[in-house]
Symmetry: C2
Subunit: 414 residues, 2 copies
């Protein structure tokens, strides 16, 4: 590693098969954006698409756009674009609502499919909304259900018994970046008679996922992180084809009805995945996500996976070499196969450290209690960016810039 | 009425205190848009705001926008702008999710607050998603709950007994435009010990609503009709202050948590109305709605109410005078106080009739089995528009243009 130079990395960028994708994004000048795992950046085609939806589709075509400009089809069209990125078939994915709402849909579906079981299993460190939604469903269903939290998603077997209806895990931990073995976990859960629900918030768009190869039952995910669908972009959900017809949706809105425009008094679910759509989708935000996924249609997902591993490997190696002795401890698994596209370090003054980096326009984020988190979206982050980010980090640490009083005060969101 | 002329109406437009608002909308040239009760048009400030959110807030400020550009506050900021339009106080309204999802939140809240009651009452002709959502909740809650549908929302007393937990009614019927007496209905429902949930989809933005004067418990409504928030704009919900702290939300997402960025394992609801927010909101669509409501800040709501009554009175009078003998029957209450801002007629060939009007760029819509529906949004529809629309309708009827074969084939959405 000691023979690594910035020049060598710039040459590596030139040889990167994904390098040209960077030019499709409106990345701010002089910023190293390592927070695409929280909010992906704006791609130029997305900007143009939203402007067109505003001015022509809404402004001029108005109500006729539901048919003429295919607004009615957005939920499934987005789903079908996402399907090959997450190992699903067409007709197994839709875009709709938020991740929280979609979790409620699928947890309520899971308990319907396992009526004799009363336990939902998840991980204590799962993203909070996943746990909160399970709590809300359980409270609504009354006293006999329970949520069992395990400390380590890699040891799910310990929590399995014949009362477990569904196991809900996020494949990539939002703090540490730890990535679970999807096929092995799914198999263990199903062997115990339970259903497996994956949260792909930090997976989709960062590396290829293969839900069907793993035999997964359900999945949800986020449109605004690695998929670059825009702030608060609609989320997605996946239901394996074998389960679709057996579920009566709990959030039974009119756009999931078999004949929404027949305006019937009684609910009858649409065939297939469409029944998991509830209300009218936010078209401006849906259009942005749709266009962001069109861009992924040109991406070689194996190249994405490889570059993700290479960028994160490089960051770990450079930090450990060039920032040694400053109290940083790697929080992310060292083996590339066991992590997503982010690297987290622990540091006693992590919050102030990240503020000092942000002041230098190196944008990562901080998660309690002591985690500094860096996302490496392989679509637009270069090897040179990694070098430059580490150089800034080294200077911040050596100059003790993080000790500046201004960096100690916490804002609500970073 | 026989002395009415187009010239007289043009003079009336010139004297209309709301006339200048029309210039703020990008209405297509040569179109008479009487479908703002289905999808409101694009206002220029909304177009500019969305472009700014795209290019500057998302494109350049990226993740910092959650604080810097107040994305975190959008849900409550929109709610507080809406509050005076619907007779609520600040802190009683938020924008979030879709109407369907918000109905689920409030119906589940209502049954929590009336634990010994098992009946939800609604009207058979209510907008279907309202009924479907009630069905979905009831199925999830298990066998002991039921949905009781009445034929006529004006005779709600007949359905009330001591098992009714909540009555859910849409104030303005989406087909006929019939408007319910909000104070009297609410009082009757509450006298029976039940809670009152209003759907304001066809009310908010068309005329002033006064939820608090009526003593209402809950309300939902739509952002994309008379509020002009854009296609599939986020919906809103109202919870009377007295009920907020007593409800544990069923859709308990992280943004309704007391401390969303503390990332706690257990759900603890935020104080007040914020607990009814679930997941991350779609910011592009939220920003459009926010800006559309800023425009309403300049509107005199009494003038809006008066113009709504005048436009619809005029349309009824002109159609009955100038289109007599062509099989049109008024479906909307004749007294202005008993209708919303739309007028519906029944016609045996209603579908083809509307298609023929649309071919002349007079845009209304059709609802099964025989209703032609015309929305008169007082913010941008003029008295001259009403004259011109009736003149087109007269010509379509006298020329039997609706009998053209091309107009008989139905599309999925009109």
């Amino acid at each position: 590693m000691s023979n690594l130079t910035r020049e060598a990395l710039t040459a590596r960028d030139a040889a990167d098969p994904l390098h040209s994708f960077r030019d499709r994004f409106d990345l701010p000048e002089g910023m190293i954006y390592l927070d695409g795992n929280s909010l992906g950046p704006l791609a130029y085609p997305v900007r143009d698409r939203v402007a067109d939806v505003l001015n022509r589709e809404w402004g001029q075509d108005l109500i006729t756009s539901w048919n003429k400009n295919h607004w009615m089809a957005l939920s499934t069209r987005i789903g079908d674009k996402l399907a090959p990125m997450i190992g699903a078939n067409a007709g197994e994915v839709v875009a709709a609502d938020s991740t929280s709402i979609n979790l409620f849909k699928l947890l309520s579906a899971a308990v319907q499919l396992r009526p004799d079981r009363r336990t939902i299993v998840s991980e204590a460190g799962n993203f909070p909304t996943d746990l909160y939604i399970a709590e809300g469903l359980i409270a609504l269903l009354g006293g006999s259900y329970r949520l069992r939290l395990i400390d380590d998603g890699e040891r799910v077997e310990e929590a399995l018994d014949d009362d477990v209806a569904v196991v809900m895990l996020t494949q990539v931990d939002y703090r540490t970046g730890r990535k679970l073995d999807m096929p092995a976990t799914t198999q263990a859960v199903q062997k115990a008679g339970a259903l497996m629900l994956w949260d792909l918030a930090h997976s989709a768009g960062a590396f290829p996922v293969d839900l069907n190869a793993a035999g997964a039952d359900f999945a949800v995910g986020c449109g605004y992180k690695y998929l670059n669908g825009g702030p608060g972009a609609p989320a997605f959900l996946y239901v394996a084809a074998r389960h679709q017809e057996g579920v009566q949706p709990a959030l039974s809105g009119w756009l999931g009805h078999a004949q929404p425009f027949a305006f019937q008094h009684s609910y009858a679910p649409a065939a297939g995945i469409v029944r998991f759509v509830a209300g009218t989708p936010p078209v401006l935000s849906m259009a942005a996500l749709d266009e962001a996924l069109t861009l992924f249609g040109d991406v070689d997902l194996t190249a994405l996976q490889n570059k993700s591993a290479d960028l994160t490997d490089l960051f770990i190696a450079l930090v450990e070499e060039r920032c040694a002795g400053h109290g940083l401890t790697l929080a992310t698994p060292r083996e590339a196969v066991r992590r997503g596209s982010q690297v987290s370090f622990r540091h006693a003054d992590g919050y102030a450290l990240m503020q000092a980096l942000i002041a230098r326009r190196v944008i990562g984020d901080f998660r309690d209690p002591d985690i500094v988190r860096f996302g490496f979206a392989p679509l637009y982050i270069s090897f040179t960016d990694v070098w430059d980010a580490v150089e800034h980090l080294r200077q911040v640490l050596e100059n003790r810039e993080w000790a500046d009083d201004a960096y100690a005060v916490r804002a609500a969101v970073t």
